[in-house]
């Protein structure tokens, strides 16, 4: 691993739990990592451009901000139509994530996942009914799984050792 990659990696380890809550956080990171604030900021900008950093900001606990119902809707649709249907479902403003995932037959017949957030189960179910109507005859079967408890939420944790 090159020295460049190593600094990126050490920056990730240093910030994965959060950015320092001090007036000059990039300077604080530079001091911690034995480099300059300019270098830290250049690395952060480069990682943002490459997509290694998706975004920088607040990650709200969606229960705490009022989205108390969180439904993972799952759909069994024809594989040959899934990209078209997935794009359609993903474009709905109440769908925050949509993915094509493999089935695990016989236990799991669903290949399209769409996450729907709302303030109540009724609201989520009403949105799921809209998806069902949109999919029409392409939907062979569906289910909704509501989260009832957060068991763990730490996010990504890579170790300090070089990998």
């Amino acid at each position: 691993m090159s020295a460049n990659d190593d600094l990126d990696r050490r920056l990730i380890v240093a910030t994965q739990a959060g950015l320092p809550l001090v007036p000059r956080p990039y300077h604080a990171l530079a001091e911690q990592l034995g480099t300059t604030a300019d270098e830290v900021m250049a690395r952060m900008n480069a990682m943002l451009e490459r997509g290694t950093i998706r975004r920088i900001g607040a990650v709200p606990n969606h229960y705490a901000i009022g989205y108390t119902a969180n439904g993972m809707s799952v759909w069994d649709v024809p594989d040959e139509r899934i990209d078209e249907l997935g794009a359609m479902v993903g474009a709905l403003d109440f769908v925050t994530h949509a993915y094509h995932r493999p089935r695990a037959l016989p236990a799991w017949p669903y290949n399209l996942f769409a996450m729907v957030h709302g303030s109540s189960r009724e609201e989520v179910l009403a949105k799921v009914a809209e998806i069902e109507a949109l999919l029409g005859g392409d939907c062979r079967r569906h289910d909704v799984l509501f989260s009832t408890e957060i068991l763990k939420k730490t996010g990504l944790r890579i170790s300090n050792s070089a990998g």
Binding site: D8, A58, P60, A98, L145, T148
Partner: protein, 166 residues
């Protein structure tokens, strides 16, 4: 941890959450720059972020990494856990650093999978190793559901609970 109730948030907290889910600046005094656009002081922004982290309104404040761009992988996986074994299995699964999030879910129909977690590993091969370790530790099968295609990902939610707790 039990599911938290909607938090008590004042108008400034709500504006901070709505405005700062992305685009936090990279500059010498980023909190000062962000605070200025919110019409508050740098000290106040830092204090409010600190408080919202402590109250678990925010789970994190900082960069969100996309590990796939570094050769790693994020994979959703599920298990069907018998209720009699719930506590044992939950502790065993959460003990793995590779488990980034874990949610209990209940199906509206007849789906047996009631524990859903995300594995985050530094290499793609790490996923299979983590699945095997969890199966060994729990004695139950783990079903990985890797994403084959992503149609839309935008996790920006505006604050719903205006005026604080319902």
């Amino acid at each position: 941890m039990p599911r938290p109730e909607p938090a008590v948030l004042d108008e400034v907290d709500r504006r901070i959450i709505d405005a700062l889910q992305g685009d936090f600046p990279i500059c010498d005094r980023p909190y000062a720059a962000a605070a200025e656009t919110l019409g508050i002081g740098e000290d106040e922004l830092i204090a409010r972020l600190q408080s919202m982290l402590e109250r678990k309104v925010l789970t994190r404040f900082g960069p969100m990494f996309q590990i796939e761009r570094m050769g790693g992988a994020f994979v959703l996986a599920a298990m069907a856990v018998p209720m009699a074994e719930w506590e044992r299995v939950n502790s065993a699964v959460n003990a793995f650093a590779e488990v980034a999030h874990n949610y209990r879910r209940e199906s509206a129909l007849d789906t047996p999978f009631n524990m859903w977690f995300v594995l985050a590993t530094e290499t793609k091969e790490g996923i299979a190793a983590a699945v095997e370790k969890i199966e060994t530790a729990t004695g139950l099968p783990v079903y990985p559901f890797p994403k084959l295609k992503e149609y839309f990902v935008e996790m920006k939610l505006s604050v719903r609970n205006a005026g604080g707790a319902a």
